[in-house]
Amino acid sequence: MSKVGPAPVAAPPAVGARVGRRRGVELALIVLAVLLSVYGYCAVGLARTGSVPPGAAGYGAGLGVLALCAHVAVRIRAPYADPLPLPIAVLLNGLGLVLIYRLDLETPHDRAAPAQLVWSTLGVALFIAVVLVLRDHRVLQRYSYVCVVAALALLALPILFPAVNGARIWVRIAGFSIQPGEFAKVLLAVFFAAYLAANRNALAYTGRRLWRMQFPTGRVLGPIVAIWLLSVGVLVLERDLGTSLLFFGLFVVLLYVATGRTGWIAVGVLLAVGGAYAVGQVEPHVAGRIDDWLRPFATIDAGRGPNQLAQSLFAFAAGGVTGTGLGLGHSVLIGFAVKSDFVLATAGEELGLAGLAAIVLLYGVLVERGYRAGLALREPFGRLLAVGLASLLALQVFVIAGGVTGLIPLTGMAMPFLAQGGSSVVTNWAIVALLIRVSDSARGQYDGREAP
């Protein structure tokens, strides 16, 4: 699984020509993605029991049918869409199922792969629904205030439910655990994009100047800061700092892109540092995370054995450059959350630095295609939406992958597509659906000025 075919780079089209539809490329890459996933599934079985697991054909067929349905939907309703996001999503989702299936073998009483497959199906269904129903992404602009109310409601919902593992981010209904904050991400991105597209000139040009920096008037800035503070406040109450950091980063990036004011970045970083310090003072949970990050082996020195971060580092180190091979690592030593927050450690140990680099590159290509669509679009909402969704993915990958590899303090968050977690998978399929929709507009109206 550590080998990922080189991503085909679309040849720059001749000036003035329409962009090719490239649906055949998409189909070929989807087939490759499904085959790679099935190969990974078989590799796990061969390594563990010496035989191809009995479910391999079913798994491949299931993933293939899902991917083909998505492909057909794109063919019908988004014929000019970028051919790369869908195969990348299929490959990451397929690889995530392989990793979870592989970890299920270590915890026979707690199987997560079947549920993850159900959630993946729901995610693809949502993808198809979005692609079929949403004919033009600009429609979303009209519903921006509906989005923000829905987002805040979703964020507030888990407060009514008991905390799970220290974080109040879960809603449990009829045996299903849902993380509403995951869905809120997309809704907030839509709202930010719509609001900033409408008000960006006011934000950039009006207001007073203080020491070379332009501050917008309270009338324009007020609502957006209020909503941001509200969302962050809810998250601090729910102790989900990863998502808080994610929203904050998304907010700053979009504000910068919309206004071009570097002052926003300075203000944003100052706010982030101040906020982190304040929360660190109040919340022992957060202070502990920062201590763990600075001294990951402190618990070993104290004779209490390695903590999860130390175990995660051990897993990555054990993988080395080439990895142990699927099914042959011992990342299960990480214990709790090995299939969700720490799933990347399994990839790092069993696929090695080579496999990890391939995965990060896949995310990188996905993000880049989002930005590319943003650059090619003509209207600000679409641009900001594409940039926002792409940045959301990049930030989320950075926060969680940086956390489990000791680059930044660890915050609980799901690796997009790879990690166990239904809400996350469904949300990420929605993000990819919106990227497909946006890129279809960008490439469909391409006039040769900015390569989509």
Partner: protein
């Protein structure tokens, strides 16, 4: 309104945000390389990292073979530390195998040959570079011992419930045929990592009987009269004695030189007794005086040729140093020469004394491992030429054989006689403790030669610690000699 949709241009900022995202992902890769390549070695070697331990128990451990059959095994527990050690006849072979515990490490052959048994030895794991790439351990190789299962069992059953040890070697080669220590323990109790293992460990370590002490090689005892073989060898080699049957000028009791202490004998008839009679009836007075006549340098040279004072004996696990004190006055030398004072020997050392006599004065270094093999049986290390040395002149050895045979034919060791075979031996009953108050140790060292054979096939040393306290009834001949006889009979019956 320079750009689509009106307002400020956005593209430059989008490009910068794109670079920012690219930098974030690049930072991830750089950090991943730091963790997975630069720091990987330190993380892999961190003692809190269980991976090394898991890898060690991921494959079945190789076996220790006795008489062509494995006396060990491996059981797949399905746990994280997958394979656990099992033992067939654990207590019987514990002084050879030692234990291989997931909690407490390894001992004896399990320890000295851990590389072969666990499969990490480069000779087994093969091409090192390929191993680094694949990192999957292969199964372990086997260790083939020199033990004779019948002799081992005879020694174990002979000792029964008593505290003691037996060491038997093949004089012509140095192959160790039996190595027994009682009371023993079952090393299988220590194999796993459960609560039961730690309680077994605590129980065995606090047991006053010290079941985990390998008395055959790790415990030294005063050899008592069995040391008279060494003294006789020194006297013959030095020319102090030329005629075994000539009367010696030995008083009874013998006043230790420079003291007023009088040394006596158990029996009568030791005054001026010939060396032959004194050996057969174990006269302390004669041999104490003989040692003094030989002198410290010659006594030391002979004792050290037999292996005394050598701290580096390995079999391949280390053997406790047997001692002969070299800085003694004449009185102390007299006592040293009859196996008392600071003279101490392991049962294995005394078996080596008997073996040197049996093998014409040539001492073969004892060894326990015949060869090691790959899992498929292919030999890794075969028997190489092992060092040997001439301990005494061949003529001296021949006369000592005569003396030892006399002990079994008509002396204190008649209990060791085997019909149809030539058996030589020497009894010993060593007193110890303050004022000899401790329970005496019963010794017997011997060899046995089948009719028609050129050299004895077996040399054996037996020590029984808690021989009954009544000195008059017990002796090496009474308690230890029958055990030696059964061991020798088992070897001769092959």
């Amino acid at each position: 309104m320079s750009e689509y949709g009106g307002g400020r241009p956005m593209a430059p900022y989008i490009r910068r945000a794109r670079v920012f995202c690219a930098l974030l992902l690049a930072a991830l890769l750089v950090n991943a390389a730091r963790v997975q390549v630069v720091r990987a070695g330190a993380y892999d070697d961190n003692p809190a990292n269980r991976r090394a331990v898991i890898a060690r128990y991921a494959v079945p451990r190789g076996n220790i073979l006795v008489g062509g059959r494995p006396v060990t095994g491996s059981v797949d527990t399905g746990e994280q530390l997958r394979y656990e050690r099992t033992y067939r006849d654990g207590p019987l072979y514990a002084p050879v195998t030692g234990f291989a515990s997931q909690l407490y490490g390894t001992t004896l052959l399990e320890h000295t040959h851990d590389g072969v048994l666990s499969g990490t030895d480069p000779l087994i794991s093969g091409f090192a570079l390929w191993h680094d790439v694949r990192r999957d351990g292969g199964p372990g190789g086997d260790v083939v011992t020199t033990l004779d299962p019948a002799a081992q069992r005879a020694a174990f059953q002979g000792l029964g419930g008593r505290r003691g040890a037996v060491a038997a070697v093949e004089p012509a080669t140095g192959r160790v045929l039996a190595l027994v220590s009682t009371p023993s323990y079952d090393p299988a109790e220590l194999s796993g990592n459960s609560e039961a293992v730690s309680s077994a460990w605590a129980r065995l370590n606090h047991d006053p009987e010290q079941p985990m002490l390998n008395r055959a090689v790790r415990q030294t005892y005063p050899p008592g009269s069995t040391f008279k073989v060494v003294t006789a060898a020194a006297a013959l080699d030095a020319g102090v004695v030329t005629n075994l049957d000539a009367r010696t000028r030995s008083p009874d009791p013998y006043r230790l030189p420079g003291t007023t202490t009088r040394l006596t004998n158990e029996g009568d008839g030791c005054r001026d007794a010939s060396v032959r009679d004194a050996f057969e009836w174990s006269c302390n007075t004669v041999f104490a005086k003989l040692g003094v006549d030989v002198g410290v340098p010659q006594m030391t040279a002979t004792a050290e040729a037999f292996g005394f004072n050598d701290p580096g004996v390995r079999m391949p696990f280390p053997v406790a140093k047997s001692t002969f004190d070299t800085s003694v006055d004449r009185a102390q030398l007299a006592l040293s020469s009859i196996g008392q004072y600071n003279t101490r020997a392991t049962p294995l050392q005394m078996a080596m004394v008997a073996a040197a006599v049996a093998n014409g004065g040539r001492l073969r270094t004892p060894y326990l491992v015949e060869r090691t093999t790959r899992p498929d049986g292919q030999a890794l290390n075969g028997t190489s030429v092992r060092p040997d040395r001439q301990v005494m002149r061949a003529a001296t050895a021949a006369r000592l054989k005569e003396l030892m045979a006399g002990v079994v034919q008509e002396g204190t060791g008649t209990n060791a006689a085997i019909p149809g075979a030539l058996v030589g031996g020497k009894t010993g009953t060593a007193q110890h403790g303050v004022g000899n108050s401790g329970v005496p140790y019963a010794w017997f060292v011997s060899w046995a030669q089948a009719a028609g054979a050129e050299v004895p096939a077996v040399a054996v040393a037996v020590v029984v610690e808690d021989a009954s306290a009544d000195r008059g009834e017990i002796s090496g001949g009474g308690d230890a000699a029958p055990i030696a006889r059964e061991v020798m009979r088992a070897v001769l019956a092959r």
